[in-house]
Amino acid sequence: MNYILGAFKPACHISITFSDGKSRKQVPLKKENGQTAMVPLFQSQENISGKISIEPVSGKKVEHNGIKVELLGQIEMYFDRNNFYDFTSLVRELDVPGEIYERKTYPFEFSTVEMPYETYNGVNVRLRYILKVTISRGYAGSIVEYQDFVVRNYGPPPSINNSIKMEVGIEDCLHIEFEYNKSKYDLKDVIIGKIYFLLVRIKIKNMDLEIRRRESTGSGANTHVETETLAKFELMDGAPVRGESIPIRLFLSPYELTPTYRNINNKFSVKYYLNLVLVDEEDRRYFKQQEITMFRLGETS
């Protein structure tokens, strides 16, 4: 997209292509305008290379003070609009000051780029990676072109992954023991477990398992926490009796989950919780929340 400063018509077309554009996996990315585009997917430590083509519009030559391409990793806080924080900034000079009177193509390469954080679109914060091409011009205004790409980092399964087993209750009312098979789950995993009823003195209507995402941004006095319920999965219909054991089998793949992000660049965290909710006949809710760690399983390529 042309981003023109101070001119009415675009002076030239800039197109950015990736060298492995045909073979590289593309994923959808939701843009600011609400539309979704397919963009390439990278992992940290990968090489990002390609070509940048600049073509003047309608034959008119373009004078410039230099052309460069930057690879930026950015965190944007929504409550602090236009407050971009670049945690990664790499630049490649493409051309010295001069003229472009016909289509010119510049190759570029960023090798083994450290991109430790994943692309993230949240409620109050956004983390994105972009390639930014800038054609510097003095008074006429620089011409800039952006290309988003997505970064996701895969990892091996955690070496330690204990199950979660706990007994909770309300004295003389309700006593349950719940068990989830792991404390750390991959994004495509299945939560397997059970709820065992030790004491039931209330009339239960049903039981759900919620997946909640808690996004906290800022720090200190400026901390914002947004909690979203991403999944509401009915575990049980009807009232159990003491001794009954209800199975849990919740597939995570249908839900839009991300790995757990802890203190990304000291700016934000995204954590996940399983919230077990029991509702009684009078619509009173009894719940127990438990944090789980999400990770992205896979081979690093």
Binding site: A231, K232, F233, E234, L235, M236, D237, G238, A239, P240, V241, E244, S245, I246, P247, R249, F251, S253, P254
Partner: protein, 694 residues
């Protein structure tokens, strides 16, 4: 009215539910037709959400369920056709589990499960196990019941039975059994729980609703019985114990009654016989309110029929000691259920007796044992007032009579009279009549004094007044009928051996003497004639063994007869007695026992003189005397004279002249007898006529 509104509302909700299903079905069909799996899953989940309702009674819910069921059948066909939707069955199995609401999710899972098993990509047992476990998520009684019923339905033909195409490795039959048993257990728990859920309802309505769903639970037992691989061994070791465990533990009377019934109906009789102890062991553990007697009776009936089906089966009954076990079990049940009314206990005994009569008809000791147990129960309870209980006791007593057509067998049952003792006077008499009728019907003759004694003990209600009852209370007609029956009975008592016959007569006499004035006129005559018959028999046996003490002689019998007839004086019944004396006289005459005959005539005349007051009676009596006298040929001249004189004399003294004439007329025959040794006394003859003309 509140209730009417409720019904109307339900109709409305049902209509809404059906409309919801139809609406989603339309889109579902469209999705299926265009091979769109995602859409198909979406609309089928929505469709199935109609089943999440809590507003319908079981009856209405069933209607809704059936609609959904039909749609699921079509959906299953779509699922099966991978080429159309492009999703492997394994992926599909996961995909349906993404559904957010548990009830639609599980219905879909079971449907895919069916396809999965059919595809043979996984062992049937694994899929079935998963399905039956996952269904635990639905704890709502009605919804859970129907869901599991669906599971049972689609799994029926896919059990890993031996010989089936789904047969697996390892203990495949046990896998099939485990699955069905688990589903059964969970369904029963849900069924029992129905009563605790929802608003308080009237018990009758609740029971009715529950009854409507009972077959859903019972079907599982039927499936178990159909599994080829379930042999006696498995039934005994696994199936029966686990089913009984659930039946006992659920502590619900409705369920217990129905399920015990089911077990008995559904499994072969041969199995019941071989597991009798285990099966019976459950009964005392059931809730007190369960109508055990009906179930036990059912069981005994089935076993009786089984025994009757082939003779080869009978040794089995003895080998497993069926009778002893049943007898024990009944005892335990009666003991455990203290609240059981007497009628319940008795009807149990009736069933047991019927069983014994049908299966072990040669074992009279069994029959007597049952009667004994009954006596024990009756002794422990207050006097029977309950009509039903009384009827049962009568049934108990009648059964052996009908089985063994001869009374002899019944008479050997030592407890028989004890049972009768517990009947009230009225019923006692009815029973006595039944006894007599039985004898008459089968033309049995009671042939020993001992048996007669027992018999008359049994019918003592007819023979005499039992303490506390007044003979006056009885209807005339009924009384007559009773006594006539007794009279007829007397004629059925017979033995060829004169000694024994005499004993019989003595025994009868002993009993009827206690009968009182009302009864004697009925009972004495038949006894007299019976004795006279004996006399006539002895007449023909003149050549007795010389030197032996022969108690049964005509003389002795006549002595006895005298005593018997004398009893009529207590009634008083002079005319009857008179006739009987004359009969005896005639018999004595035929035996050539002149003094005996003379004595009888004397007695007759005494009666005539002192007791026969009525003029008409006098006429009849005197004619009788004359007639009898006329036939006498044993008298010597003197005796004959005396008697004739007397007869003539009384004749002349009759009240009315015409009677006098006729009587004297008749007397004239006494002087002229036409046979060879007959008296011909012309002089006397003339004397009489002269006397008359004056």
């Amino acid at each position: 009215m509140m209730i009417a509104d409720g019904i109307e509302d339900e109709e409305k909700w049902l209509a809404e539910g059906i409309a919801g299903i139809q609406h989603n079905a339309f889109y579902l069909h469209r999705a299926v037709d265009s091979n769109n799996l995602r859409e198909a899953l979406k609309y089928s989940a929505q469709l199935l959400s109609e089943l999440r309702t809590s507003r319908l009674s079981p009856h209405k819910y069933y209607e809704l369920y059936m609609r959904a069921f039909d749609e699921l059948r079509r959906l299953e066909m779509f699922f099966k056709d991978e080429e159309r939707h492009g999703c492997s069955v394994l992926d599909l199995y996961e995909l349906v589990q993404h559904a957010g609401n548990v009830l639609p999710r599980l219905y879909l899972l079971c449907t895919v499960g069916s396809v999965y098993i059919k595809s043979k990509e996984a062992p049937a047992k694994d899929v079935l196990k998963d399905l039956v476990e996952m269904c635990r998520s639905v704890q709502h009684p009605i919804r859970g019941l129907f869901l599991r019923s669906y599971l049972a339905q689609i799994s029926r033909d896919k059990l890993p039975d031996i010989g089936s195409e789904y047969e697996g490795d390892g203990d495949t039959v046990m896998d099939a059994v485990d699955f069905v048993l688990q589903n059964f257990t969970e369904m029963n728990k849900l069924w029992v729980r129905m009563q605790h859920q929802g608003p308080i309802r009237v018990k009758e309505k609740l029971d009715k609703e529950r009854s409507e769903l009972r077959d859903l639970v019972g079907k599982n037992l039927h499936v178990l019985s159909q599994i080829e691989g379930v042999d006696l061994e498995i039934y005994k070791d696994t199936v029966l114990p686990r089913v009984l465990e659930q039946v006992v533990n659920c502590k619900d009377e409705l369920a217990q009654h129905y399920l015990m019934d089911c077990i008995i109906q559904v499994f072969p009789d041969e199995y019941h016989l071989q597991t009798l102890e285990t099966l019976l062991g459950a009964f005392p553990q059931l809730q007190p309110a369960v109508d055990i007697k009906t179930v036990l009776s059912q069981l005994m009936d089935r076993l009786s029929n089984y025994a009757a089906s082939s003779a080869e089966v009978l040794p089995e009954f003895l080998q497993v000691e069926a009778f002893a076990k049943l007898s024990n079990a009944i005892g335990k049940v009666i003991e455990a259920q203290v609240e059981m009314p007497v009628v319940g206990a008795i009807s149990l005994y009736v069933s047991l007796l019927t069983f014994a009569l049908r299966v072990h008809s040669d074992r009279l000791d069994y029959v007597d044992q049952v009667l004994g147990a009954c006596v024990k129960k009756l002794s422990g309870s207050p006097k029977l007032e309950d009509n039903k209980a009384t009827k049962q006791v009568v049934a108990l007593l009648t059964a052996p009579l009908e089985k063994y057509n001869d009374i002899d067998t019944a008479l050997t049952l030592s407890n028989y009279p004890h049972v009768m003792d517990h009947l009230d006077a009225g019923t006692n008499k009815i029973m006595a009549m039944v006894l007599i009728q039985s004898i008459m019907k089968y033309n049995t003759c009671v042939s020993t004094a001992e048996k007669v004694d027992v018999l008359f003990e049994l019918i003592k209600g007819l023979i005499k007044d039992i303490d506390g009852t007044l003979a006056d209370e009885l209807d005339e007609e009924d009384f007559k009928e009773e006594q006539n029956s007794v009279a007829r009975l007397v004629h059925m008592l017979y033995n060829d051996d004169p000694e024994e016959m005499l004993q019989i007569i003595c025994t009868v006499r002993k009993h009827i003497m206690a009968g009182g004035p009302k009864r004697l006129p009925f009972t004495v005559p038949p006894l007299v004639f019976s004795a006279l018959k004996l006399v006539r028999r002895l007449q023909g046996l003149d050549g007795e063994v010389a030197g032996e003490e022969v108690p049964a002689t005509p003389r002795k019998i006549f002595q006895l007869l005298n005593q018997i007839i004398e009893a009529l004086s207590n009634v008083p019944s002079p005319e009857l007695a008179l006739r009987l004396y004359l009969q005896c006289a005639e018999a004595a005459n035929d035996c050539d026992l002149e003094p005996v005959a003379y004595e009888f005539f004397t007695q007759a005349f005494v009666l005539y003189e002192e007791e026969v007051a009525d003029s008409k009676a006098q006429v009849t009596s005197i004619h009788l005397i004359i007639g009898t006298l006329q036939r006498m040929n044993a008298f010597g001249v003197e005796n004959r004279d005396t008697l004739t004189h007397k007869a003539t004399g009384y004749s002349a003294k009759l009240l009315k002249k015409p009677d006098q004439c006729r009587a004297v007329y008749a007397c004239s025959h006494l002087f002229w007898v036409d046979d060879q040794d007959g008296i011909k006394d012309g002089e006397r003859f003339k004397l009489i006529f002269r006397h008359n003309w004056t």
